[in-house]
């Protein structure tokens, strides 16, 4: 029953996101057909062809309903700009972004856990410099960080390739650039949680049993520190998908982010909606996964006792 409700809620979110996008794109100035044609000279026949083909002569609400209808049938439509099926255009780019986001998330989580664990309740200097670094990291514009990373590690040191989506080594810099700001945010949240946990009596009890600091961190504290992080997961996913737009541009990676920019610029409604759909579904899926994760991390939240 809860599963059904959750599914319905998820559908509502996806529908809302798509509708929001539809409205926004149709409220923007400029005609769609101009956007499709772009800066080029077309014969009136070609123009009429485009209008008819995409149904642009229909009233807005009919366009909306027929779009929803097609969505329900699993048809994402045909991209104005890419000249391909939306599903195909997205499918082509999906893997690359997924990889980037996954590695970025991994780095952000791993890095945040390490930094938080290494600095929680440690000396003033050690902890203070980590906190300072985190605050700076949050405020560094990602494209700027990306370019700095490129200049340092690719152009000068030549440790990593500057561009391209293929090699695992090429993934390092973009993933780092993408992960730094969220990792800094996470690490602050985690350190807070860790420090609260380390003051809990069960930690003193564990130490009274002779456990090392590392063992205490690994077996007790980290798990508690992950709880608030899990709460932030929805925000994180959104941040990463959004961040991919800039990162992919700087590092010349293929992916959904760059597709998004192109699609919005070109008022390519079917493609934008397709992209929003993907991100909304990702958000919903992550939300459901996270709910499950809560139970794993904290048995108190499991449904049955």
């Amino acid at each position: 029953m809860t599963a059904v409700r959750r599914l319905l809620g998820g559908l509502a979110v996806v529908w809302g996101a798509v509708t929001l996008t539809f409205l926004a794109l149709h409220l923007t100035p400029g005609s769609t057909v101009d956007a499709i044609v772009g800066q080029s000279v077309v014969t009136p026949e070609v123009r009429a062809q485009i209008v008819a083909e995409y149904g642009l002569d229909q009233p807005l609400w009919i366009q909306y309903l027929s779009y929803l209808g097609r969505l329900v049938r699993g048809d994402l439509g045909h991209s104005y700009g890419q000249g391909t099926q939306v599903a195909e255009a997205i499918g082509e780019q999906f893997g690359s972004t997924l990889l980037l986001v996954a590695v970025g998330l991994g780095l952000a989580f791993g890095g945040a856990v390490l930094v938080a664990a290494a600095t929680a309740h440690r000396s003033r200097w050690w902890r203070g410099s980590a906190v300072g670094a985190e605050r700076v990291s949050v405020a560094v514009p990602p494209f700027w960080l990306g370019i700095l990373l490129l200049v340092a590690f690719s152009f000068s040191l030549r440790w990593f390739p500057a561009i391209g989506s293929d090699s695992p080594r090429g993934l390092v810099l973009p993933a780092v650039a993408l992960a730094v700001a969220p990792a800094a945010m996470l690490s602050q949240v985690m350190r807070h949680a860790l420090e609260k946990t380390l003051e809990e009596p069960f930690v003193t009890s564990a130490r009274a049993r002779g456990l090392t600091r590392t063992a205490v961190l690994a077996r007790h504290a980290v798990r508690h520190a992950l709880l608030p992080v899990v709460t932030l997961a929805g925000w994180l996913v959104a941040a990463f998908i959004g961040g991919a737009i800039v990162t992919e541009t700087v590092f010349a990676r293929q992916g959904l982010g760059r597709l998004t920019v192109t699609a919005i610029e070109g008022k390519d409604f079917p493609l934008v909606s397709g992209l929003v759909l993907v991100s909304a579904v990702a958000y919903v899926v992550v939300g459901i996964g996270v709910d499950a994760l809560y139970g794993v991390l904290d048995p108190r939240l499991r449904a049955s006792t």
Partner: protein, 527 residues
């Protein structure tokens, strides 16, 4: 056409080409339909299609037409029928043979509405039809004479693709094309690029190229790297062999680096210009236009902003264009005092609190829509400087940053005073594209005459030029047209579009098509 442009031969002088190797090439942007120039207007599409698609004829650097797929051709006396003799030995890489029917299939497809051609069809505006005479002879019929036809036929847009491959949907052709060229192309992935493989059977190189037979390179990979810093960095760190669109600021660095080389090509056709909208507002007054033209020191701006890499323009056409008129360039000289005088004459005599000129209480204001998200860094700085220089004249240039749809809407709906862009094109017929009264956007339809100039004299000169078969007559007619543009002050030319391609020092033989993109048929990599 794979003609080697002047100035590019220097680096490879004396060296013997070495076959083999794969060339890594980075471009700066994606195109929506990246591979089919019959559909897409993007210059990137021409670049990417060129290695795959051959044309009937090739255009040399001196604007002479050379044979390619057609060995010879004749033009009917009235200029409306062109008959081509095709090479007998040409095969497309999917096994099909080149014949007259293949040419007809291509040209008919270009003009068919279903193709939604956004540029190629306009190159065939006078097209009436194609007649297959026999397998190796084909006749193109025109509704009216068009002296630009041969030039247009040399472009990839009117290139001949394998007819069998054109039965697929337009969308499929966009990402994968089949031709008879020196390379075969893999599928294109947006934001990533594609790779080419050498066509070993290639024996029909264009008459403009340095060698015959198959290409030297085994293959080419093209990646899309929009960020300038990354593209230049990838080149200097050796991750790629060739990078397109080197920003002026990096040119000096690349020239100074012994591991790198810079290939520059000044494209013929239109220059990068600001266009006044003569149909409304202050620019309806020719004196204001002339004042704006004379009052800004375009020369100095270009030299300083672009670090001496680009040349300042003095006229709507680049000096390398056929029929470029040196006479009329005097009109583009800088004269600040004259500019102020002209403005006074036009009645803009009073000044407001901020120092802008006013007339009857209204400020001399010019609306300038600007597409910051797509502008190069260089053009963005130019816009800033133009605004600042205009301010010194007492003119308030309001640069409005808008998104692409709004940008286009402002243009199409005549809601601007100033517009900036460059329109390349290898022939002086761009004058018609840019200033012909038949090219003014009306009824919400996009057309390319940004100054909205409708000058009967100019129109007359342009149609004379199109109809003229004799080059001298064409030159005379185009000179008249250029003079008319100068008299009307219908353009503020800024700089001559210069293509700068960076390469590793061991890359040789990069050529440039007349439209200004690099070509790779003659290219090779030293060891």
């Amino acid at each position: 056409a794979c003609g080697s442009a002047p100035g590019t031969g220097g680096t490879d002088a004396g060296a013997t080409p070495v076959p083999g190797g794969t060339l890594a090439f980075a471009v700066n942007r994606d195109a929506t339909c990246p591979l089919d120039p019959q559909q897409s207007p993007a210059s990137l599409t021409s670049l990417l299609a060129r290695p795959v698609v051959d044309s009937l004829v090739a255009l040399g650097p001196d604007s002479t037409v050379k044979p390619w797929l057609a060995t010879e051709w004749t033009v009917s006396p009235d200029g409306t029928a062109y008959t081509f003799t095709l090479r007998p030995d040409v095969a497309f890489t999917n096994g099909e043979k080149l014949d007259a029917a293949a040419v007809k299939t291509n040209l008919d497809r270009i003009v068919a509405p279903a193709t939604k051609s956004q540029a190629a069809a306009s190159l065939l505006a006078a097209y009436a039809g194609t007649r297959v005479i026999d397998a190796s002879h084909v006749e193109i019929d025109l509704k009216r004479p068009d002296s630009t036809l041969l030039t247009n036929l040399s472009t990839p847009a009117l290139g001949i693709q394998a007819p069998g491959s054109l039965t697929r949907t337009p969308a499929e052709v966009c990402t994968q094309i089949v031709g008879s060229g020196p390379f075969t192309a893999g599928a294109y992935t947006p934001a990533k690029g594609l790779s080419y493989t050498k066509n070993p059977a290639y024996q029909w190189g264009p008459g403009t190229s340095a060698h015959t037979g198959p290409a030297y390179l085994d293959g080419i990979t093209v990646s899309v790297v929009p960020e300038d810093t990354s593209r230049v960095g990838a080149l200097s760190s050796g991750q790629i062999d060739v990078a397109s669109d080197i920003p002026p600021v990096n040119v000096a660095d690349i020239s100074a680096n012994s591991q790198l080389a810079l290939e520059k090509f000044t494209a013929p056709g239109g220059v990068y210009s600001y266009f006044p909208n003569v149909s409304r507002g202050p620019f309806a007054d020719v004196n204001v236009r002339k004042a704006f033209r004379a009052g800004i020191d375009w020369n100095t701006l270009v030299k300083q902003l672009f670090f001496g890499v680009y040349d300042a323009a003095s006229g709507p056409l680049s000096p390398t264009t056929f029929a470029y008129d040196k006479q009329s360039s005097a009109a583009y000289a800088y004269d600040r005092d004259a500019a102020n005088r002209l403005l006074d004459q036009a009645g803009w005599t009073t000044r407001d609190a901020e120092g802008f000129r006013t007339k009857d209480g209204t400020r001399l204001t010019l609306v300038h829509p600007f597409l910051a998200s797509r502008a190069s860094a260089a053009n963005a700085t130019l816009a800033v400087q133009v605004q600042a220089a205009a301010k010194q004249l007492g003119i308030d240039v309001q640069t409005q940053n808008v998104e692409y749809p709004a940008y286009l809407a402002a243009f199409v709906n005549n809601q601007y005073d100033l517009f900036d862009f460059s329109w390349s094109g290898s022939s002086p017929s761009v004058l018609g594209t840019l200033f012909g009264s038949n090219n003014i956007s009306t009824g919400g339809k996009f057309a390319t005459n940004a100054s909205r100039l409708a000058d009967p004299q100019l129109d007359q000169a342009l149609s004379t030029a199109l109809a003229a078969k004799d080059p001298a007559a064409q030159v005379a007619a185009y000179a008249k047209a250029q003079q008319a543009v100068a008299d009307q002050a219908a353009v503020f030319p800024a700089y001559v579009t210069t293509v700068a391609v960076g390469t590793r020092a061991d890359v040789h033989g990069i050529g440039f098509a007349p439209d200004g993109y690099p070509t790779f048929y003659d290219a090779w990599k030293g060891k």
